[in-house]
């Protein structure tokens, strides 16, 4: 792929404005889509093979097809802009620098599933992004691109921004719906899936920001063009978020042909490990997926490619850790996150996450015992697959993957009664061994 499509203009001044967007061909895909039947829009998206960019990689066209169009109730699009997966910051860039692409995707989505309203659920911490979205929405509304009788076609599609208030779990699709309804962001039992009973009990499609941003490209250039941008079943452009111990952290757009190794080392992307250190491991898809070792990176950074190496592309949040990183500390850090963010609905996740975090803290402080390692695996195994949503698996994974891959490091903590790798970038209290 020669040049970026989603992020082509994001570094140009005023790229987020309606003027800039329409000058660069914006809203033409919407015009084209409104002249198509909803069924043919869904067919094109299906044929493109677009897979959801939020983490699960589910085909978007199918998701839209499943929406119960025979229902007499209203239908809704919910755009998931609750970007909270640790290591993920791609939707942040799209919304702040290219919001009209998202609006266009939402409107085409409304047309496809027969919704009148799309809600963009944005995390509360993105307040400055929300301001931009609201301002640009107002401009698009004034220009007749959003609201009633768009382009004089007689179609009425509205977009509203809904601000969250700090909850990772709100990124789970049914929890997002609960939160939009004004409740705690806790997941629902599925089925019924949102396509049948979603927001206010109505048929609903929940789509990630990046997913919806791809839709105008598909309508404009066609399904075959889109599919050909990447490997089979992994078509289209992809945004990668690279953070941690790399020289050039940032959001990079590339095809899913790109080897994971290039994303970490190539000068066009991560640029290699900072300070000339050696790589220890990579978490390729946000904190909820298994780690990959340096010799496992020669795979395409696609949904299927990363899965073939035993991990997941997830939200494409690539967290890079160098040799100074203690993996017990890293697991403890992540379990602090999962303990804090557990919604509390399912017992294995609520109690198990806290238990895992306590044990990891004990081992990291040098107070652990060898039998704690098997206890960790046992608790994590009892969370895995035993909760309503994928959060439980996400919380168990950092423990399972680090104990299995770096068991000797855990054992060294127990044997030496201290952390053998107290990196200088960690808090002082830890490095001087208060053990």
């Amino acid at each position: 792929m020669s040049e970026p499509l989603l992020t082509r203009y994001v570094r140009e001044p005023n790229s987020f404005t309606l003027d800039f967007y329409t000058k660069h061909g914006g809203y033409e895909a919407l015009r084209k889509a409104l002249a198509m039947t909803p069924e043919s829009v869904i067919d094109v998206v299906k044929a493109s093979g677009l897979r959801g960019r939020g983490g699960a990689g589910f085909p978007t066209g199918l998701k839209w097809q499943f929406v119960d169009k025979t229902s007499p109730r209203p239908k809704y699009i919910c755009c998931n802009a609750d970007e909270s997966e640790p290591g993920t910051f791609k939707d942040h860039v799209l919304m702040e620098r290219n919001p009209h692409l998202l609006f266009e995707g939402c409107l085409i989505g409304c047309h496809a599933i027969g919704a009148k309203v799309a809600y963009i659920y944005i995390r509360g911490e993105f307040y400055h992004v929300q301001e931009i979205l609201e301002r640009e929405l107002e401009k698009a509304r004034a220009a007749g691109l959003i609201g009633s009788n768009i382009f004089g076609t007689g179609f009425d599609y509205e977009i509203y921004v809904h601000r969250g208030a700090g909850a990772y779990e709100a990124g789970e699709e049914t929890a997002l719906i609960e939160s939009l309804e004004g409740k705690r962001a806790q997941p629902r039992l599925k089925p019924p899936f949102p396509a049948v009973e979603g927001l206010y009990g109505c048929p609903t499609a929940v789509n990630n920001v990046e997913t919806l941003c791809n839709v105008p490209l598909i309508i404009e250039h066609g399904a075959e063009w889109f599919a050909a941008l990447g490997p089979e079943k992994n078509g289209g452009p992809k945004l990668y978020c690279i953070s941690g111990h790399v020289r050039r952290p940032g959001v990079y757009e590339a095809s899913m042909h790109t080897p994971l190794r290039d994303l970490v080392y190539d000068e066009r992307f991560g640029g290699g490990i900072r300070d000339g250190r050696a790589l220890k491991c990579v978490i390729p898809g946000g904190s909820s997926v298994p780690v990959l070792l340096p010799d496992q990176l020669d795979i395409p950074a696609s949904f299927d490619g990363v899965a073939s190496a035993g991990s997941l592309l997830g939200s494409a949040g690539i967290i890079v850790m160098d040799e100074t990183t203690c993996m017990v500390w890293a697991a403890e850090n992540l379990l602090h996150f999962y303990r804090h963010e557990s919604c509390g609905k399912c017992t294995p996740c609520r109690e198990g996450g806290a238990w895992l975090h306590n044990i990891l803290g004990k081992i990291e402080r040098g107070e652990g015992q060898m039998k704690d390692l098997d206890l960790l695996l046992s608790i994590a195994g009892n969370i895995m697959g035993k909760t309503l949503c994928a959060f439980g698996d996400a919380a168990a994974t950092p423990v399972l993957t680090t104990v299995r891959t770096f068991r000797e490091e855990y054992e060294a903590h127990v044997r030496e009664g201290r952390c053998p790798l107290p990196a200088p970038w960690r808090a002082g209290a830890r490095t001087v061994g208060a053990h």
Binding site: G87, F89, E125, G182, A185, A354, W425
Partner: protein, 196 residues
């Protein structure tokens, strides 16, 4: 969620009663404009917005706020408490003029977030979760803020401050004392030549 802390006890922690509370006319209108985004029978969808407005008006959420929000939205104050106690961005205690929220999750931690918190804590004389005696600063540790490329990240009220090395902490605090939030670096995604 505070579940599982210590000995796996959960306790109902009610905010203080607080002074009498009602929205200003302006805020009430803003809230009604937000309610209009949802179907008329779904006013509860606006509850997060209602709480943000109340927090903006009064600084933190009290029992009187919860009662008033319940009346305006059309739900019980128990429903409001349910929501207030779940989401992390609602303060049920008074906070300082500047709330410094240090991202503590992995990508920021790998880049020195623990030391940023440590330095801030020393400089302000408060621990994470506390407010200084003058009511100027509250120090918080929060989970992933979604700007990991600029780690470690600190958010100040609704503003952002990015690319903090632990050594920059003093400049951040001094800047806030001197000029308030105008001293912040803002969002790195802005480009020279952007309209305001």
């Amino acid at each position: 969620m505070n579940y599982g802390r210590g000995r796996y006890q959960s306790a109902r922690q009610l905010p203080e009663e607080g002074p009498a509370f009602a929205y200003t006319e302006e805020n009430r209108q803003r809230l009604e404009a937000i309610c209009a985004r949802y179907p008329p029978e779904q006013r509860k969808s606006a509850i997060l917005a209602a709480l943000f407005l109340a927090q903006q008006q009064q600084g933190h959420i009290t029992r009187n706020v919860m009662r008033h929000v319940g009346e305006v939205i059309g739900c019980t104050s128990a429903d409001v408490e349910d929501v207030v106690t779940y989401y992390t961005m609602f303060y049920t205690r008074p906070v300082g003029r500047h709330v410094l929220a240090v991202c503590r999750t992995l990508s920021c931690a790998l880049m020195g977030a623990e030391r940023v918190t440590e330095q801030l804590s020393q400089l302000l004389g408060v621990k994470s979760g506390e407010t200084d005696a003058a009511g100027e600063f509250t120090l918080l540790e929060v989970e992933c803020l979604g700007a990991c490329d600029r780690a470690p990240v600190v958010s100040v009220n609704d503003h952002w401050h990015e690319c903090q090395s632990p050594d920059d902490v003093r400049a951040l605090v001094d800047g806030l004392r001197r000029e308030g939030t105008t001293s912040l670096t803002g969002c790195h995604l802005r480009v020279a030549g952007d309209e305001q």
